[in-house]
């Protein structure tokens, strides 16, 4: 059973089409790069998966259930674009932020137990941020903040992780180690990963599949096939195809 199955999905804002006739599926343990230029509709596609943006046509199924009726949100971990997330005045501690990742598993009135806090400790230790638990998120560096938000994603033990431009706030070293960590989670734990990025040349180093979007689906399939495709060479030109296929150190 696919984790996500999208059929003929279209989205429009103010009568202008943002996404047209998108169909693809995410299988367990997939690592897919959602790539496309700015304004291609990548973030809109992710938001539509979570029901944050309504579909004009088509359907989305999550773990075999229509997305509108889906309630088991703990199975999906979401890391939004960091720049839109962190309010520098917000006094939340690292522990409080990570706990938010378990809200979907709680019923009203949602309260956390000692066992929940132990899970927070475990995931924080695993990501080597255990010592920061009582610190305020706003006091941390960009790389540390990103790890905290990743811990928030992982604490509910999801089967799918969706990252929206996760590297925008990171320096090159932090970016490399962040993606190595994600790759490990994908390989060792079998967690499916969807990585949204405009950085077409970088994502191929980690992802197995490519979804290239420009308001409509340009390509969906394995990187290896994309690199050999004459059709894609004609579409992108040889130079850009080579940049996207930049998989030398895989």
């Amino acid at each position: 059973m696919p984790i996500i199955e999208i059929k003929n999905a279209s989205v429009s804002y103010n009568n202008s089409d943002v996404l047209t006739d998108i169909s693809f599926s995410v299988e367990p343990a997939d690592f897919i790069g959602f790539v496309g230029p700015n304004g291609a509709g990548k973030t809109t596609l992710v938001k539509s998966i979570f029901g944050l943006v309504p579909l004009k046509t088509g359907s989305i199924e999550l773990f075999g259930t229509n997305a509108k009726k889906f309630t088991d949100w703990g199975k999906i971990g979401y890391l939004p674009q960091q720049s839109s997330t962190i309010n520098p005045l917000f006094p939340a501690t690292v522990e409080e932020v990570i706990l938010l990742g378990m809200l979907s598993q709680k019923k009203l009135p949602r309260k956390f137990t000692k066992a929940d806090r132990t899970k927070v400790d475990e995931i924080a230790d695993q990501l080597k941020i255990g010592g920061l638990k009582k610190r305020m998120l706003s006091e941390l560096s960009g790389g540390q903040q990103q790890k905290v938000l990743l811990a928030r994603c992982l604490v509910s033990k999801p089967q799918l992780l969706i990252f929206d431009e996760p590297s925008t706030a990171l320096d090159p070293d932090s970016r490399e180690s962040f993606f190595q960590l994600v790759k490990e989670l994908n390989k060792k734990n079998g967690i499916a990963v969807v990585l949204v990025t405009h950085d077409a040349g970088f994502v191929g180093k980690f992802a197995e599949k490519l979804l290239y979007l420009d308001k409509k689906l340009v390509y969906f399939g394995k990187f290896s096939e994309f690199c050999k495709s004459d059709e894609m060479r004609l579409f992108f030109g040889e130079h850009y195809q080579h940049i996207i296929c930049h998989q030398h150190d895989k």
Partner: protein, 267 residues
């Protein structure tokens, strides 16, 4: 200072109602400040002016008119923002202006209750009635219970609304709950500091606590302490120095905020 003043029934009532209102205002104010919705309390207090005027005009107990009308106004602000392509601050401005205008028209039509209405403009907790004390304590309990019940939903929706929705938090419902609670607290606070200063009671303790807090829960607790201290000392100083109570409470709040700000700079 003569501590016998605590024997006066009106001081006891002011302390009791003031304490509950102080804590409620500060707890709710933290969510409003962090969501950049502070001015909704200002707008709704203006609406309460119109609603109280209507109550006096119709001969209805002002609280009974103000609670439903201010709650309706808060819902209207949300709906205008959602449906009419108007930003939140503009929606607050519209509803608030209508509230004040309605109040002024009713005051001029009646001619008889102007003095009463002005006591609501600046508040007078020392004249609080037993019914008002009971109402304040009960409504404060309701507001605090709802805040406790939805604490993590409110926290998550305040921290990152989009993320909260991806974890199943009903953010639209949370927004409605928050504005309805704000309406209740605004009406309660009118007696303490008056229509013109209500927003200070909600904004200043939270703003001060944010200078010192080391976590969200502690920020709320520190804000509640600041608010409680300012209301209790404000009532005391105003009694002994013969100053207007509402304004004294707000000035003490402002002094606490300034001290917190300076402490943060030098610490």
């Amino acid at each position: 200072m003569d501590i016998n003043f605590l024997q006066y029934a009106f001081i006891q009532k002011a302390f009791l109602a003031g304490s509950f209102i102080a804590v409620t205002c500060a707890a709710l104010g933290m969510f409003l400040v962090l969501r950049k919705m502070s001015l909704i309390s200002d707008g709704l207090s203006h609406v309460s002016f119109g609603a109280i005027a209507l109550g006096l005009f119709l001969g209805v107990y002002p609280y009974y008119a103000a609670v439903p009308l201010v709650m309706a106004a808060s819902y209207l602000i949300l709906k205008i923002t959602e449906k009419a392509k108007v930003y939140g601050d503009a929606a607050i401005g519209i509803v608030s202006a209508v509230g004040i205008a309605g109040g002024v028209i009713l005051a001029s039509l009646s001619k008889g209750f102007n003095v009463d209405l002005f006591s609501y403009l600046f508040g007078n907790i020392l004249s609080i009635s037993t019914t008002e004390v009971v109402l304040s304590v009960l409504l404060s309990f309701v507001v605090l219970a709802v805040l406790w019940f939805y604490y993590w939903d409110l926290f998550s929706a305040t921290f990152d609304q989009n993320y909260a929705r991806t974890t199943g938090v009903k953010t639209n419902m949370i927004n409605i709950i928050l504005t309805l609670l704000t309406s209740l607290v605004v009406v309660l606070s009118v007696k303490v500091v008056g229509v013109l200063l209500v927003s200070a009671l909600m904004i200043l303790p939270a703003a001060g606590a944010l200078q010192l807090a080391k976590g969200f829960r502690s920020a709320i607790l520190v804000g509640c302490c600041f608010s409680l201290v300012s209301v209790l000392t404000g009532i005391t100083f105003s009694f002994f120095l013969d100053l207007p109570t509402g304004a004294t409470i707000v000035m003490i709040n402002a002094i606490i905020f300034a001290i917190a700000l300076i402490y943060k700079k030098i610490a």
